[in-house]
């Protein structure tokens, strides 16, 4: 479980805190989407969860370990796996299987167990056939799946994906999200998806919306979609179909907000 109390973080020289008075409890085995515009504080929150940043005030407790207690950093890495927007920044090896094994080597694991673990993790992300490839020659989608495999290798209880699908094509992105969803269920992983893409919250049990460093919404994805008119206030866009129907309405056409599929929109326009 990850718990924060009165959590605040301010970057040096910044006029205001990046996150302010965050009080949340994230239960084990859940998938939580943290949604917000650029600069809303969501990546800062992810780094605070992972112990990469220390709070300016308040606390983050991950599985009973306070990230402000020293030395927390090393312990955190085994609790929390993190995958970032640019997978290239995380790649250190020239062979895919060595990349996944890299973190394990630091855990003093024996060779046979390590081999088995690498195979399992590559299988989980559907990349076993690329185990001997050069990570730098993989596509962005494959690199991101490799990032997830490497993060899973240390067997963390929490996996944080910080805009991890930003560089992927739509289909790969949605496939990756459903793969993550299956992984979360199969491994009882707690997954935190940091995103600004509305369609990625569908896999989550819970959505937390951050705006200017504060929690402005904390409920289910369905509850979020019923408050669609709030989204622009948080610098989030409507899902594409709702954006289109809003434009049609402002052009004088009669399309009810309840039309949620292309067929329903067409029926409203051409009964």
């Amino acid at each position: 479980m990850i718990s924060t109390r009165h959590l605040e973080f301010k970057y040096r020289g910044a006029p205001r805190p990046a996150v302010h008075d965050i009080n949340i409890d994230i239960e084990d085995g859940s998938i939580v989407a943290v949604l917000g515009a650029n600069g809303s504080g969501k990546s800062t929150l992810a780094r605070l969860f992972g112990g990469m940043l220390r709070p300016s005030a308040g606390t983050v407790v991950v599985d009973g370990v306070d990230t402000t207690a020293r030395p927390a950093g090393w312990a955190m890495h085994q609790h929390v796996g993190m995958v970032f927007q640019n997978p290239q920044n995380q790649i250190v090896s020239t062979v895919v299987e060595n990349e996944v094994a890299f973190g394990l080597e630091n855990l003093m694991m024996d060779s046979a167990t390590m081999q088995q673990r690498v195979t399992e993790c590559l299988e989980l992300v559907g990349m076993l056939h690329l185990r001997l490839a050069n990570p730098h020659e993989l596509s962005a989608g494959e690199q991101q799946r490799l990032g997830i495999a490497s993060a899973l290798a240390a067997n963390p209880r929490h996996l944080i994906l910080d805009e991890a699908t930003a560089l992927l094509d739509d289909q790969t992105r949605l496939e990756l999200m459903s793969r993550v969803q299956a992984l979360a269920r199969r491994l009882s992983l707690n997954v935190i998806v940091i995103t600004h893409r509305m369609d990625e919250v569908n896999i989550a049990d819970r959505v937390i919306v951050l705006s200017q460093g504060e929690v402005v919404f904390d409920d289910t994805p369905t509850a979020l979609f019923t408050q669609a008119e709030q989204l622009p206030h948080w610098n989030l866009t409507l899902p594409p179909l709702q954006e289109l129907t809003a434009a049609l309405r402002s052009g004088g056409l009669q399309v009810p907000p309840s039309a949620l599929t292309p067929e329903e929109v067409a029926r409203a326009l051409w009964p």
Partner: protein, 292 residues
């Protein structure tokens, strides 16, 4: 006068058996926006690097104004004329300040300081970065969207004839994306822009010509509206059609008399739908047709 790729093939330097592009021929006009759309791994980024001379194709030629860029006295000249915005703007930012970063290219090209400064100011204006607020800041203190606009300004300051943009809005929030899209639309009015992306809806919002690329092969080369006609192809290419195309299809299935579309820009789609639904004549004809 154009940038032309003629039957270009590319392989990975380390793994010769791995073919990235197979006999791709593309003409980039001197204005407008050409979108090359394909899934991750389809060869888009390699194509971008070939267009700008960073990567030499294993077969075929790249011509700028009918001259093979690899037989030019200096490949730097081709790179000046064809700007490349990389997928990760951080890879091409290195100035201590935003202003210094944007001036760097022109100053290296031997342009005098006053001209460099005026080019920097113009480029910042083009990408919507306020000179007083941004010129003295470190590029690395900016948000992802701002950094991408700095990188774009650095390219525009070189006054290129063509601009190749590799996933220019990936990872940006709606506000950041809208700003970059506006810059692309405006830039395409003056120079030839190539948009490399896996985001088909984005391509259809901006492009006047679309190429669909799959595993290094051109699968479609034509008008934007035609790019969404073959849904089986889109599915094989792992591309999502924009909702506009789905709504148009659903309207056609209901018998709405929709004019064929030249492009799939939202304004065009909205106008076409409004014309069909609101025009009393077309509706009467359609209603009559349906009542029989």
């Amino acid at each position: 006068m154009a940038l032309k790729l003629i039957s270009v093939s590319a392989r990975y330097p380390i793994d010769e058996a791995h073919i990235v592009l197979t006999k791709v021929s593309i003409t980039v006009r001197d204005s407008g926006c050409l979108a090359v759309v394909g899934p991750s791994g389809s060869g888009k980024s390699t194509l971008g690097r070939i267009m700008n001379g960073l990567h030499r194709p294993s077969e075929g030629t790249v011509e700028l104004d009918n001259l093979d860029i690899h037989s030019m006295p200096s490949i730097a000249e081709a790179r000046r004329r064809v700007g490349l915005l990389m997928q990760q703007p951080d890879n091409q930012l290195f100035g201590m300040t935003v202003g210094e970063d944007i001036r760097f290219g022109p100053s290296q090209a031997g342009i005098d300081l006053d001209t460099c400064v005026s080019r920097m100011e113009r480029a910042m204006l083009q990408v919507g970065l306020d000179i007083d607020s941004f010129a003295a800041r470190s590029p690395f203190s900016l948000s992802g969207g701002e950094r991408r606009r700095v990188a774009l300004a650095g390219l525009l300051a070189m006054q290129p004839r063509h601009l190749v943009l590799d996933e220019p809005v990936a990872g940006l929030d709606p506000a950041g994306r809208a700003k970059i899209e506006a810059v692309i639309a405006e830039t395409g009015r003056h120079i030839g822009v190539v948009l490399l992306t896996a985001d088909l809806p984005l391509a259809l919002r901006l492009a006047d010509h679309v190429i669909l690329l799959d595993a290094g092969h051109v699968e479609y080369d034509g008008a934007p509206a035609g790019a969404v006609a073959d849904r089986a192809l889109l599915s094989r290419l792992r591309l999502l059609a924009p909702v506009e195309a789905d709504v148009l299809d659903a309207l056609r299935q209901r018998g709405a008399p929709l004019e064929p579309l030249e492009d799939m820009r939202p304004a065009t789609v909205l106008e076409t739908i409004a014309a069909a639904v609101l025009a009393p004549d077309s509706r009467k004809v359609a209603t009559k047709g349906r009542s029989h």
